[in-house]
């Protein structure tokens, strides 16, 4: 049975979404209760902007951590929206969307890398846009607690923040488009991202983790390219069978050329 990348992606994202929904609804038991913040925003615009930032950070952290932080996010929000009306379901979907988009894009980049397909960084930008819109929508629907959607990342401990370097090779693939990248370039990007995350903490640490994916773009592209071992030209050409007629024609051509030049 052959496996197609698209089918693999659908299965992976489906399984991830199910786990995330189970964590959000508390079916698997959240690792942390819902954050206590109950800020009420002065205007819907403020709420929408905060939610949009939450969506952006959530998407980037979920991508950068290979989906790990998306599940932490879902778990930390367990119990936020317990109703079963259509609105509640939509709100839950909007809350989870950035995390699922992040994992989905990560899996998509990894599969493109594995199967040698081209993957443009534009698709990441597109899904970032979707995550921002979904984050803003969730924040508008849940005004009393929307700040939690934006700043949940502050609650990340060091180990969780450190997982945001897991997808550096995927970011590097987006940057270089090379299937066989140089190990030193990848190691440098990963170490630089780890240094960035380790040297920051709290909200800054979460933001650093979210934007650690930009590090491969700060490293010269040539560092990711493997030195191509050129195939040397063969020492001899193939021996072509020649006939006497060919040889006579060649000699005749040479004599005619010389005569044309006035040498004979």
């Amino acid at each position: 049975m052959t496996s197609s990348p698209s089918r693999t992606l659908v299965v992976l994202v489906g399984a991830y979404s199910l786990v995330a929904v189970a964590l959000l609804t508390g079916a698997l038991g959240g690792v942390a209760g819902p954050p206590e913040s109950r800020e009420i925003f002065n205007s819907p615009l403020e709420a929408a902007l905060t939610g949009a930032l939450g969506g952006l950070v959530g998407y980037l952290l979920s991508f950068s951590s290979a989906g790990v932080l998306g599940l932490v996010y879902a778990s930390s929000l367990s119990g936020m929206s317990r109703g079963s009306t259509l609105i509640d379901l939509l709100v839950r979907g909007s809350l989870l969307a950035p995390a699922v988009f992040g994992f989905s894009d990560f899996a998509s980049v990894c599969l493109a890398w594995r199967y040698g397909y081209a993957k443009s960084a534009r698709s990441v930008l597109k899904f970032t846009g979707y995550a921002v819109v979904m984050g803003a929508a969730a924040a508008l629907a849940l005004p009393p607690r929307c700040s939690t959607a934006a700043w949940w990342a502050v609650r990340l401990d060091s180990l969780a923040a450190g997982t945001s370097v897991l997808a550096i090779p995927a970011w590097a693939y987006l940057r270089s488009g090379e299937r066989t990248m140089r190990g030193t370039g990848l190691a440098l990007a990963t170490s630089a991202a780890a240094l960035l995350v380790s040297s920051t903490s709290g909200a800054l640490g979460a933001l650093a983790g979210a934007f650690s994916g930009a590090i491969p773009w700060l490293i010269p592209r040539r560092l990711f390219f493997r030195k191509v071992v050129e195939i040397p030209p063969p020492p001899v050409g193939p021996r072509v069978q020649r006939s006497v007629a060919d040889d006579i024609a060649e000699v005749r051509r040479l004599i005619l050329e010389r005569m044309a030049e006035g040498g004979l």
């Binding site: 190990g183 990848l186 630089a192 780890a194 040297s199 071992v229 030209p233 063969p234 072509v240």
Partner: protein, 133 residues
């Protein structure tokens, strides 16, 4: 040249600042290093195998089995070229041909056992003129 040193220093510094935050990065770097080492080991193994095959092909040629010798060298060259061109190692010549330089294509299709042997030596040594063995 400086990239590995810079990477090691960054990782050490990250570990000193916050060991838990640097732990996942250490794991990722370890995986990257092991993949790199695997590629290097495979390359060495491939080279040794090619040398053995060429030795055997030479023996066959000296024993008068020129056609078998030719087939053996052809198979070894095809394997090496597939590896160098990042193609599946079981690719046949028809699959490799589009990615091959014209001179190699012509040689593989109509070269004699002696030509192929010299070409395989060139492929191993990486020079356009074969070494005197």
């Amino acid at each position: 040249m400086f990239a590995p040193i810079l990477a090691a220093l960054s990782l050490l510094l990250a570990g000193a600042l916050s060991p838990p935050a640097a732990a996942p990065a250490c794991l990722v770097v370890l995986i990257e290093a092991s993949l790199e080492a695997r590629g290097w080991i495979r390359g060495r193994r491939r080279r040794k195998l090619l040398l053995r095959v060429l030795e055997r092909a030479r023996e066959l040629k000296e024993a008068g089995h020129r056609e078998r010798s030719r087939e053996l060298i052809l198979s070894a060259i095809r394997y090496e070229l597939a590896a160098r061109l990042s193609q599946p190692l079981n690719s046949d010549l028809a699959e490799l041909s589009p990615a091959l330089p014209r001179a190699w294509r012509d040689l593989l299709s109509s070269g004699s056992a002696d030509d192929l042997l010299r070409a395989a030596e060139v492929l191993l040594s990486g020079e356009s003129r074969p070494r005197l063995l």
